[in-house]
Each structure stands twice: as C-alpha cells, then as structure tokens.
Point group: none
Chain length 118, copies 2
Amino acid sequence: MAKTNAPKNTIGEFIRAQRRLAKLSLRQLAQTAKVSNAYLSQVERGIYKPSAKVLKHVAEALQVSAETLYARAGFLDEDDEERKEAGVEQAIRLDPRLSEDQKETMLRVYRGFAGPAA
Amino acid sequence: MAKTNAPKNTIGEFIRAQRRLAKLSLRQLAQTAKVSNAYLSQVERGIYKPSAKVLKHVAEALQVSAETLYARAGFLDEDDEERKEAGVEQAIRLDPRLSEDQKETMLRVYRGFAGPAA
DNA sequence: TCCTGCTGCTTGGTAAACTGAGCGCCGAGG
DNA sequence: CCTCGGCGCTCAGTTTACCAAGCAGCAGGA
C-alpha cells in the first residue's frame, strides 16, 4: 500500500542499494559473496540476472534473508510486503536490547520519516 | 568413480518423484513448466542443476511450494530463523518507505542504542 | 612530483544451462 | 502384420552465467 517510493525494482539496483547501506565496496561484497567483482558489477547494473546460488551468497553477505532477495529477483513471489513494512515498528518494539525510552525515540523517528509521506 | 549411484536426495529425484505422484509424463510436466523435455530429463537424472527460474515453474506445475523446491535444491536454507535474528536492522533496510539517507540515519541511531559491539 | 592502493567498469573466454530434432522402445488399434 | 502415438533419452547447437585480467579515475602519503 504505502509504496510511495519504489522507483526501480530490479534485483541489481536492490543489491547495490543494500551494499551501499552496508558500506561495502563492490569488491568487498564480491569476495564475501564468493563471486567476481566483474560479475557483481554486471549484476548490479542489470546486465546479468544472477542465479539463485549467487543470490543466496549475496543474501548472506548482506545479512538479508534469502527469501527477500529471491522475491526481489522474481524467483519467489509469495512474499507479502505488508509484513515487511509493518516490520520496522514491530521489530523495534520487540528488540530486547532497547530500553523503553529508546524504543519510543526510534519509533518517533521512524514515523517522522515514513509517516507523513502522504 | 564407481559411484553409479548415491544416496542422493537431489532435487532431480525429488522432482521425478513428485511428477510421478502427480501422474504426469516427462513431456507433460516439461510443457506446463515451460522447459524442454530433454532438459527436464537431464535435470531429473541429476545431470543439470536447474536454475531458480526453472524451479519456480516446476513448483507451480507440480503444485508444491517454491520454497520447498528451493530448499531441496540448496538455494534456500530450510530454516527461517535468520530473519528473526536480523531484526531491526533488516527491517529498516527493507522498508520501502524510507529513503537511503533515512535508512542510514536510523541504522546509526539504532546501533548507538543497541550497542557498538553488536 | 610520482607512487600505492583503492574505487567501479570492460573485455575475452570457459563452462554450464537450456533447446530442437532426433533416436529406439512399447502398447493399442487398424 | 504394421502404423501411430506416447514414453524417456541422446546429441548438437545456442544462449547465458560467470571469472581472470586489465583498463581509467581518484585519494592520500612520501
């Protein structure tokens, strides 16, 4: 529903975005994901469509669930985004490492970011 | 290599078993799964390792969940507990309502709260 | 200045996935 | 008997994933 921002949804761009979020260079990710940097470059730019094996390695290296990547790649589509969207708030609430105050702060920040999109 | 056989729980054998259970001929399944019968034959006999795309089609044709086949193929870990461990960080990363900058901000905040060592 | 080491990208090749056209075998009719 | 249609399998070829090596560009330090 709240798909206010999802400009491009290719698997490559998704990987690139996640890689940058994780502050990894192309070669770094390539190495931990056990693929060549050349190939990873092509994948991120949409030239090649990675196989599931590669996807799995990348998912591990990026610390996202393989299902997510598969869904993004179109290999799996029984994925409901709703659950993921609701995820942030729920994850924050359930996190045992956060104090109540911290949770409240993060929720406020999150709602500030995600909420007033309308 | 006198290993003409192996205790293979390969997807090939799994597919063949499922196909026979569904009372489908090789060509029938190949057609509904949109692959050539030649290829499907090779896959079932373990000569080729099918890509996720093929697996997805086969899963649909056999009316089994794609996850099951992926897990059999080793493309997916059978356990989804990874998702829970990832928790807040992954939820943030995957949220389509947050911009890249916003994600980074929230991750920084979260890490500050939850502990630098983690 | 010139290195040194990093970034991402391109090129050229190998191997693997995948297909089309055939093979031989078997059961059901004519 | 002899087609006919389906079965699974094989061979030859195309397409695509993937890697090794090397490119230019940029930052920083001697």
